[in-house]
Structures are given as structure tokens and as C-alpha cells.
Assembly symmetry: D2
Homo-oligomer: 331 residues x 4
Amino acid sequence: MKIALLGAGRIGRVHARAISDHPTAELASVSDAFSAAAESLASEYGVPVLSADDVFSSDDIDGVLIASSTPTHSDFLERAARSGKAVLCEKPIDLDLVRTRHCLAVLEEYPVTCALGFNRRHDPQFSALKTAMDSGRIGKLEMITITSRDPEPPPAEYIAASGGIFRDMSIHDLDMAAWLLGEPVTEVTVSGSCLVDPAIGEAGDLDSVLINLKSASGKLVNISNSRRACYGYDQRIEVFGSKGMLEARNETDTQLRFTGAEGVVDERPQWFFLERYSRAYAQEVADFVAAWQENRAPLAGAQDGLAALELAEAALISYREGRRVLLSEIR
Amino acid sequence: MKIALLGAGRIGRVHARAISDHPTAELASVSDAFSAAAESLASEYGVPVLSADDVFSSDDIDGVLIASSTPTHSDFLERAARSGKAVLCEKPIDLDLVRTRHCLAVLEEYPVTCALGFNRRHDPQFSALKTAMDSGRIGKLEMITITSRDPEPPPAEYIAASGGIFRDMSIHDLDMAAWLLGEPVTEVTVSGSCLVDPAIGEAGDLDSVLINLKSASGKLVNISNSRRACYGYDQRIEVFGSKGMLEARNETDTQLRFTGAEGVVDERPQWFFLERYSRAYAQEVADFVAAWQENRAPLAGAQDGLAALELAEAALISYREGRRVLLSEIR
Amino acid sequence: MKIALLGAGRIGRVHARAISDHPTAELASVSDAFSAAAESLASEYGVPVLSADDVFSSDDIDGVLIASSTPTHSDFLERAARSGKAVLCEKPIDLDLVRTRHCLAVLEEYPVTCALGFNRRHDPQFSALKTAMDSGRIGKLEMITITSRDPEPPPAEYIAASGGIFRDMSIHDLDMAAWLLGEPVTEVTVSGSCLVDPAIGEAGDLDSVLINLKSASGKLVNISNSRRACYGYDQRIEVFGSKGMLEARNETDTQLRFTGAEGVVDERPQWFFLERYSRAYAQEVADFVAAWQENRAPLAGAQDGLAALELAEAALISYREGRRVLLSEIR
Amino acid sequence: MKIALLGAGRIGRVHARAISDHPTAELASVSDAFSAAAESLASEYGVPVLSADDVFSSDDIDGVLIASSTPTHSDFLERAARSGKAVLCEKPIDLDLVRTRHCLAVLEEYPVTCALGFNRRHDPQFSALKTAMDSGRIGKLEMITITSRDPEPPPAEYIAASGGIFRDMSIHDLDMAAWLLGEPVTEVTVSGSCLVDPAIGEAGDLDSVLINLKSASGKLVNISNSRRACYGYDQRIEVFGSKGMLEARNETDTQLRFTGAEGVVDERPQWFFLERYSRAYAQEVADFVAAWQENRAPLAGAQDGLAALELAEAALISYREGRRVLLSEIR
């Protein structure tokens, strides 16, 4: 499968590596609005730099991987669909619900293999948790607890364009919750603060939030987010049910342990998403390629992107209005 | 210090043992509305059975430990105060806010050493967590996560008289949150379900709840409660701040580990509060005796009982009305 | 059961507490060559100070607990047997094999309940390990690994009178190995060094040793001893068999965990035997009392003391002669 | 660097993958006495099948990786040296000491980059342990404990040609000990049994051994080997010193934990060396390539192979003669 990469930034480089390492995928080209970035990455892999127009008009390209800046996602996604190319799009489709729904309509008209970059669904540990849960290990699911903290707050300019913590950061956890629940979320209730960085508060955003979800059958979810954890990327999930509990725990580079006068010291969690989800990114591309080859739906698709964005929207309203928000108000 | 025990049930027996084991305290008498229970426990310790009237009129008794049924607490507490006896009262003072406030007024008029049975504050592990936090180990506190699950749901008749999950079960966690925060809670937001036992729902109660608190300076707390955890008493606390995180973890009888074809197996948590908090009960009596001897406030007092009940009240309103409740509405 | 305590030093105080806390045992008296120590401890418990002669001639005393200095053990033990009193004797019976065998002969002539202070057999965790192993959890036992390290080396004068590391320190581990094996040890092979404290080497002793045992059916044991572990008392046992492995791990005061920039930090092991084996000492007295009441053998008896001393003797010969020593050479 | 692979079996395939994934190395050819195996692997990577003669006479090949059967190692190694090619040779050079020493003499005459396949030195966790130890984390090293157990015993025909447990299995641990000690081993003392599989005993071999080493300055090492651990590949190292202890612990695929009525269950260790040391194999090739490029010694060389074989030889003598063996007897 020949895949054109749109976007040669940090996450674009991760995807280029994953495509290149895949046994049957092939990096076909690199595009980027910033040509030096495109050229540097393209030469590293010995592939041509193409304009986006060239990519969408090429007969030789089977799929595109959209890793460009967020505002370009929806347009590239629609062009991919209209040109009949499979597409793996980094989240979000768009920060705006109306625009996102429009994309889904286009995809309905021009059905192509469309995967959305909810990379965490592809993490081997979360995957094993889901499999164990689905096999009945914890009996009937009752509660989910997701702890998700970044190591460091992003710069103020990033915050300004991010769409806010719910759409930018929590959205990964909202998707994870939706995926694990396996049934619709019906209610969202939120508490939030700005505790980490006053600049975030001045930008009208929050940096510490608690999001509670309730599903159609009454299952409960708590998501705990912070923009700063001095010990690294804190990514834990606990699912609790009638027959027990499963915990996905933080990962470390090694299992080395030191015991000394100050106590028993293990490694801190891996620092950020590039380390923690390196296996997930490879698996995400593998699932995309397989979905295209087998003409099946990928693990995460555009509909999941819309669903997560609706949850983020509900969370924002809940915080602003200090009340429980029903998803029926949003959908 | 001569202490009269009011109430010879399960928790009364725990306190009798703690008083008897204390180097300077002495079990003076046992009282119980059910005389067989009083006689059995009294004879075990070689002490007389007294009526409550005798206790309060005795010149020989320094303090009373109220471990009788909840509806009797407030009356006994007031009689203890009026008769000038120190008092350690099992939580709650009363399930009703007005009645509780009346007790506090009486205590103000007749000031005696008054401790409230928030046993968890005396747990060595939670105590060590608080000490480490207060010493700056995690920097500035930002978020608290309390997981608190009972091993098995109580019988339906217990539920009926319990005052509901917030006043009966969550109240321990609400007090813990208040104690750890060290500043007033200003907002409460709740989600809840009946997932464990339909009989609980039929009694108008919940068995699975998520309670979010926000403090005066914006710190966030999540409390997660369930009436049933098949693996035992799940009692965990996580405090998260600018310089790290402290976790109080479940305790086991031994550190024995088995590794076999099925994996690496450690002991499950201790089954329930009598095992888990055995050290805390001893420490609670020790603190009560020391507070009386040193004429200082005990670690948890009547005011803390009122504060926790107000939080429970706010939680109930939040759940019923689907909104953020300000504590200023309650106080 | 009325028990006279011989020896009012550190370990004597531990036993006094255990006797006093036991529901049916009673501390009858305290004796010590150093009268101030005897008086201080006796007055703490409100019991008389007696001479050893008075103890052995008293009709009122059911048993004696020998916690005096090592050179007095064998004589006290024989006098206890001859006077028909049950006896719990701190290890060792004597540092000399011939003297020890003489004691056993006296005990055969005057059979009384005789327990030997191998406290670790009474530790709840090791006890649970033994029970699990005996119930078949690890299948057929193949290898045992015992790690046993003291926090700090003893002073030079202690070393001089100790009988050397094998008879003084390793003897506990040799007894543990013998107990867990449940069959005779047939071979001993040793390596050793003086790495911790040159004063120990100058006294002709070792401070770091590896002892390998082989049992009648070929099972293997490794014991690793050091006189100094800066992180506390390191007391671990691993038993390995055809169906898995059981590990008894170090114990801590609490389960509190800190995660910060420097890693994930748990408490270090408890500092020394008084903390680590506090439950074992209580259980040891309980077993002694029960053995006397039920007229059965205690968990560890004089024969076990002899067997462990023989292993220590074999270890010393193995080290000195640089060869495998058969137990048949010793017995 | 163009590398010819000699040997297309299981371990040959691992090396082919590592060479192919390396950014500057290139798999040049595949050779195998069994031509179908060579052809299958060669076609997978699109490289030619060559005879060994062609390899050694080719001007186009920079190095050879010897992954053929043990009896061919020494001859291939010498031919590589004589033809001036760098060589990475799977351990052992030869099972015979005299033959091995001859190889070293040839290497002295024809000096080429020569790496020996002690893969564990390249494991990231053991590597981190060594780095931490060398940086002084545990103070002065005193004792090393290596636990190394295979998941399943090899078939009887493998045992027959293996050279026995010391030369075949323990040799990895002996090399690890030598590497960690950083000073010569002077004494070896061994205990051993056949407990796992009677067929191993009938073949004159052992399946369960304890090897104690002592170094020039008196440091002690215990190696514990078993041919069968039902829970997977047990690969642990503990280094203990004056300021603490470092432990390399078993690795698992994920950190998923289940808590249920039966306890807290973590994943068992990875099954065998292909999983456990996958990162080490890649790192081993990387070190080989870098050593060749930088004209420096690789992390493990032929001299280390000889040293480990001498230790294995001493271990065998110690077992057979029931005595401490000095390395000066062997060297």
C-alpha cells in the first residue's frame, strides 16, 4: 500500500517511521506547507516531496496519512474521500462540531477506508485490557477510572489554538472511555481548575479537570486530567466490575530497582507519548493498512472522532454552566 | 482515664479491646440497650454493666465512648457534655443537619474533650501520607483521588436506616478529603448509579457514586465509591501536586507472592474495616486519651463531623438536581 | 500458665511483653544476673524478682523462658527439665555440639515441653509460605533461596563471643532451610569473605557468606548472608518447584508510595528483628503455651537446635577446608 | 558494513533481522549446510546464498556473523580472522578449552574486530544496572546473585551435544558475573542435582545447579540455574554493596494487573530468550558494527569467551570432586 504523508512535523516523522517499517506499506511521498521540513524528511527516506494537489491527483497513491496542522485536517480528509484514497487522519477531524459533521457526510457519500488517530486504542496494554474485559474477566463492568496527565504544560500559543483542554487533551480519554464502555454515554458532569500555569487560565482555559460520564445502562466513568506531572506521562486506566478490577499501569524503560537507605526506588514512567505509545503508532498504521487490504473498518474511524468531540463539547458546557449535561442536548 | 462504653455491638467490642490494651486507659463499664450483649462483653473484661443514667451520673467515670446505634448518638453526646465527661463518639453525630448543629451548640456551652470516630485519620498509612504531604513532599497539592469500596453491600434493612450512601459510606471519604485539603470545600458535583444490588435502588439509594469536590483555592478531589468489591476492602488515596504524587495502597496480611503458569499472584487486600483499620482503632483511642490528658483538641472533633455531613448533604442535592452545589447553600 | 522469665535484656523484654499480652499466660517473675535490669522490668509488670534457684524450686511456676546470655542456656535448660518445668529457650542451646547433645540427653531422661527460639518459624509470612508449599502450590520442591542480611554489623566484642557467623547468624537460616526442606540435609558447601568490617576479619570471622545445602533427595538450598545492609533487615525466602515459585518478601511499616522526578519510591524494609518479627515473637509464646497445654511438641524443639548447630559446624568445616562436607561426618 | 550470515537456523534468523534493521549494516548473503534453510532465509531478504568458501574469499564482505552449529564456530572464526573479516560469533567459540585457546592465538596473529555473542551484556536493563553500579549507586560491590532458569528442558539429544549445563547454560551467567565483577574470579564452588528430568541425569548431566564464585578481592557471586521454570524465562540479577542493592527483574509484555477474589495477578515473565532479549540482539549487532567502524573492541570479545569457558570448566571439576577449585588450576 503506497501512502502519502501530509505533514512532516514531529508526529509526521513518527508516522513516516511506522510506514517505512511496515512489511507491506510504502512511504510514497512527503508534503508539508513548510518545504524545508518536507524536503528533510523526504530525503531521509529517499521519497519525493509532493504538493497536496499532486498527492490527491496521483493514480499511484493508495492512501494518505494526515499529520498536518489541525485546521487543515477536515479539508484534506474530504479531498482524500473524494479522490477515493484511504485516509488515516490525526485527531481531531476539526475542533468544530458542524465542520466535523460535514466531513462525515462527505465520507458517507464517498466511502473510503477512514481511520482516525486515536493512537491509544492501539496500545498493546490497553488492547490487552479491553480483550480481558470483553472476555468477562471482571464480570459486569461498573466503573472506569482514567488518569491522564501530561509531563509539562504546552506553551501559551499552543493553548490558544488548541480548542481548550477538553477538545485537545481530554478527547483521547473520552474516546478511550467510549471504546471501553461499548455503549453510549448519556451524561457528562465536570469540575475544573487552573492550578498549574496561570497563563492557561488567562487564555480562558483549564489545566486540571475531573470529568464524570454516565452511560446508557448507568456505568460510571471518571477522567482525571492535568497538564503537568513532574514524574512523566501518567497514563493509567482502571476498569472495575462485579468480578474484579483490571489496571493498565504506567510503563518504564526497564524494570531496574534500587534499594537503599532512602527506600526502594523504581524507574519513573516514560516521559511522553512518543516513548509511551511507540508500539501503538506502529500498530495504528498496521491496522490502517490491514483495514484497507481487507476492506473492513479500522479500529477507530471518523464516527469515533465525532463522538469524542461531542463528549468534549458536553464537558465544556457542563463546566461553564455548572450542571449535568445530557448528550441528547448535543447530538 | 476511666472510660465507659455505650454500645456492645461489633464496633463496641473493637473499642473495648482498644481501651483495655491502652497503657493508661481503663474500661470502666459497658452499657447496651440489649442487656445480654452488655453482660457478655462486660464479663469478658471483668467490668460492671451500667445503665446510661448510671454512667452519666457517676463521679468515677472520666469519659464515654459512644458506640451505640446512630439514633442514640446525639442524645448521649449532649448528656456527656452536660455531665462534663470527655466523649469519643462514633460517626455520625446524627444523620440530620439541624440535630447535629444543636449538638455542637451544646458542646460550645459545655466544652468537654470531644472526639469523633473518623477512624481513618488515625490509620498509620494515611497518617504518614498526610505528614509527607504537609512536609512538602509533593509540592503544592492539586488533586486528590480517593477510591473507597466495601467488599459486600449491606442488607436492605441496613440501607433503609443508613441515611443513604453519602451520609453512611462516603462521609468517611468526605472527611478524609477535608482533612487532606486543609482548606474549605466550596463546590460539590456528583454522578451516581445503582449497579450492584437492585434492592438498594428500590430503597431509593445508590451503590456506585463519583463525587467531585473543589476547594477554596481550586484544588480538585474525586471520590469513587462502590458498595461491592469482590476482592475485599478497597481503600486507596492518591494526592497529586506540583512535585509528585503520594499513594496510600491497599494492605495485605503478608507479602507472600506466587509465580506460576497463570502469572504472578499477590494477596488480595484485607477483607474489611476490622482488619484494615485495626491499628487505626487503637490509635484513635490513644489520641482521645492523650487529648483528654493534655487538654487539647483530638485529631477529629464534632466540628469535623458537621463539616462532613454538610458535604454529604451537598452531594445528595447535587445528585438529585444534576448540578454543582455550592457549600454556601448548605452552611 | 505461669512463666518465669530468665534474662531481662532486650530480647527478654520482648518475651515479657508477649507473655503479658497472651490471654492465658502470666508473667510470674523476672530474673537477671544484673539485678537492676531485673528490677526495672519486674516493676514494669508488677511481678517479683526471683533468683534462678527460687524459680526452679518454686511449685508455683509452670514454665521458664530462657532469654539470658548464651553461656547460661544449657545449664538453665537442664535445670528446667530436671525440675519438671516447661521451657522455651532462646537459641542456641549452646555453641558447643557436645554440650548441646548432653542437654538433649537430659531432656530425654526428664521429658518436659521444650521449645527452642527459632522465632522465624512463627512469622506469619513464612508460615503462610510453608503452608502453601505443603499444600502443593509449587509442586515438587527443587530449590530454596534464603537472603538474610542484618542492617549493621555487631560490635567487635559481640563477634568475639558469638561463635562466628555460622553459629550466630546463619543458624536461623539453616533452621529455616531444614524446616522448609522437610528432609535431612546431607551436604554443605560454603564460600565466604570479610567485606564489611575488617575488625570482623581480624577476629577470625567472616561477614559475607554463601552456604549451599543439598538434601537427601537432591534438593538444593542457597543461603546468602551479610552482616550489613544499609537499607535495613533483608529477610527474603524463595522456594522454587515444578509448578512455580513462592517468595516471602520484605515487610514495611506502610504501603505508602511516592512518585516524583527521581522515580517511584516505596518504603525500605523494616529496620531489624524487633520490628520485622514482632508478630513472630507473640506467636512463639502462643505456640509454647499451647504445646504445654495440649502436651504436644512445639513447632521448634531442642532437636531442631541440635540439627541447626550441626549444619553450622559443617559450614565452618567446609569453609576452612574448601570442600563439600557430608553431614554424616558430623552426626 | 556488509555482513555475511553463516547459519540460517533460529538464532540465525534473529541476527538476519537485526542486521537488516540496522541503519548502516547490510545483510550480504546467507550460508547454511542445509541449503533449503539458507535459500528460504536468503529469499526472504532478497540476498544470495553463498558457500562458506565464497564468503571468506569475497572482497565485498566486511564481516561474518557465525550462527551455525557449535562445532563449526572455531573453524569459521579462524577463517574469518585469516581473511581479515570482522566477526561476530555466537557463543561458545568451542566447547574445548585447548581448541578455544588456539582460536585466540590465531586472532592474535590476525587481529580483526571480533565480538562474541554474549547477548545479555547488551540487554538494556542489565546495561542500566552495570552503568548504575559503575557510577557508585551501590557503593562498594560485595555480592552478586544471578537467577537464571529456562522455561523448559531441552530434548535429550540436545543435552548430549551441549557440553553439559555449565558450558551450555551457566556460561551466560558466568560471563555476566565476570563482566559485573570487573576483576578476576579466583575460586569456584558448586552444588548440583538432577531434579527436573531423569533423562538429563542419564545423559550424565545436571539440571539444577548452584555456582558460587569468589573474586580476587573477595566479592561473592551466587548463580542459581534450573532447566525448567513453568512460569517462563526467569532472568534476574541482584548486585549488593555497601550503599544498597540493584535488582534487574523479569520483564513482561504489558503492565496489566488483575485484582479478583483470588488475589492480585500480574503477567508472568516473557517466555524465552527470543522475547526477553529481542532488544539485546539488535543492540549486539549495533555494537559489532560500531566497533568495526570505530576500530575499537566490542563489548564482549573472544577473550571473554575463553574466560567464561574456564569458569565453566572449573565448575565442572568442583562438582565432580566436591571441592573449591582455584582458577589458577585451569588457566
